[in-house]
Symmetry: C2
Amino acid sequence: VRDLLPTLLAWRAAGEPFVLATVVATDGGGPRELGAAMAVRMAGGVPGEVVGSVSGGCVEAAVIEAAAEVVADGHPRLETYGLEDSDAVGLTCGGSLAVFIEPGAAATAHLDRVDEAVERGAGAVAVTVIAGPPELLGLHHGDVLRANGYAALADAVARDADALVDVGESAVRRYGLDGCPEPAGAGAVGAEPWDSPGTDTDTDTVTVFFNVLAAPPRLIILGALDYAASLATVGRFLGYRVTVCDARPVFATAERFPSAHDVVVAWPHKYLAATSIDARTAICVLTHDPKFDVPALEVALRSAAGYVGAMGSRRTCEDRERRLREAGITDHELERLSAPIGLDLGASTPAETAVSIAAELVAARRRGSGEPLRRTSGRIHR
Amino acid sequence: VRDLLPTLLAWRAAGEPFVLATVVATDGGGPRELGAAMAVRMAGGVPGEVVGSVSGGCVEAAVIEAAAEVVADGHPRLETYGLEDSDAVGLTCGGSLAVFIEPGAAATAHLDRVDEAVERGAGAVAVTVIAGPPELLGLHHGDVLRANGYAALADAVARDADALVDVGESAVRRYGLDGCPEPAGAGAVGAEPWDSPGTDTDTDTVTVFFNVLAAPPRLIILGALDYAASLATVGRFLGYRVTVCDARPVFATAERFPSAHDVVVAWPHKYLAATSIDARTAICVLTHDPKFDVPALEVALRSAAGYVGAMGSRRTCEDRERRLREAGITDHELERLSAPIGLDLGASTPAETAVSIAAELVAARRRGSGEPLRRTSGRIHR
């Protein structure tokens, strides 16, 4: 939708009514990703110019028809298109698609702010109420929810918005009016919440689309061991874009790391020095060989990475700390290093070790303590 | 191999030499699972009776040939059979297979004890050194390692043996002589450690096969929400046999829970009362609806389950605790309940919540504290 923004702003400046249509769910076989958008400019009450697309051509005609109705009655609506509608629109490419269609002016004001955040390099999320009580439908702002007495719901939406930006993932979530999460529905997990019986007329729940405009965070794993394969699997599950890097071509192969998005044969410190690292990036050094570890950690601890951890026995960690100090790493820089990596779970198998590291990654980005929740008294989510 | 034991004991009682051959690795396309075994009785120096099988018929002839040599020279050996050997043995069913072939007497004495443990209902593991220095090859007992000055290696093997029994998984692991884990090799992760360059003649590392004779532990998830799907995924990754149970047929479907081994439509408390639960079983109650929670927890907290946790806000948990007390649950029984479920990671997304619960499951079975390892000073593995 960011591509469309200049056009939408121009249309708004010209004072012409228009409609924005956004893909809020696909069933996986669908042709476009969540957040794909098109806009339709109305000229003299009939559809004129169209920019963008929601399906690569299969359902655009139907969306344009619905757009005319949205302009006519001023109410946003949620439409679902699928193979079962083949008489009407023929989604011959397969799958089904849900599209939220709303008057352009409100959407644009909101997107304007989202665009600013993305420009600044911060991740951003466009939040839209796509189903629920009529007075909430089409809302983009938690403040309005709050002003209308739905403070707990506004809090829950804000929290999920932050969390989804952190993982770089768009999603649909359903809540009770009190902000409690509701099951997303009876279809595939996470898909088509409105398929749940009664949702169309259900005014006790609110369905929200979070359109995240941010790349997923990176997990960079140095050292192509078995532990790396397990960590890559859990890291991907947590929403990271996972890279495994090792200098040894015999270990760093795509076959050994099916869960990694990228497998790189390179000296870890050279790779780190050349790749893009930001505050959401996590770097896990699993090599526990000073030849690789020390130069890599010198780069990692001076990078923008939000998390740096290194595996090794207590003795390895002490020895490595000494070498890092000799290499000029300061106390302040060392304070950033999680070593031995992971939470103290008593982990033994590679899978358990991966969970221990994953738990530390989550605790780091969400500021958790790692203590059992039953022994704490604060908030559960952050 | 347990099926073969009565025959092996009879052969041993008769004083006849025999050979045991055990599958210690397959490449996934292989026809039999890890631990599949056959035994060959020698009669007058030539192979006689054969029981069991390692491949469904493709490589048995080659194993019998190797067995004769093992009896002749008394040395155990590791043989690999694959498609590339098609001239020799023709594993026409595809894949490759590694088989450890050893004199029967030593193996049987060991298996006898393993069998006893399994009979008692305890999981058990047969440990065999399948590659490494000649004096260690074929060893089954950590005590012998220890007596020969390899105490750290014996500790590491014992620890991994316990961990693998807990997850019910056979595996091959490679160690340095000091017990430090070594990468398992250059092939697929976890497969064919002896493919690593130089391993055949490598006397600095020891490869151990852990033949686990125990069912995987069970993870029973009550409540077919999105959170359950994420927890099922991580639970399976940790080695659990995962069951999702919910009374509502529209939610409890196999499609919604691709990671679950079983999806059951039933009232949770009735399901729990009727299913098999042991000390390795973990029960996670995610419904957070007193109608389902309270009766299910009444059964769970009085079962043999090693872990019982329940999801919910602080208020839900207090309310539930009150209802459980009213239902006659004692302080002692309540003390077993982890609620709110999970470690305090500040988890927000379903995946993060699943990691928080998985971390608590690992910490419970390994007695970890959940604290960052960098803030603790004790042992990393338990």
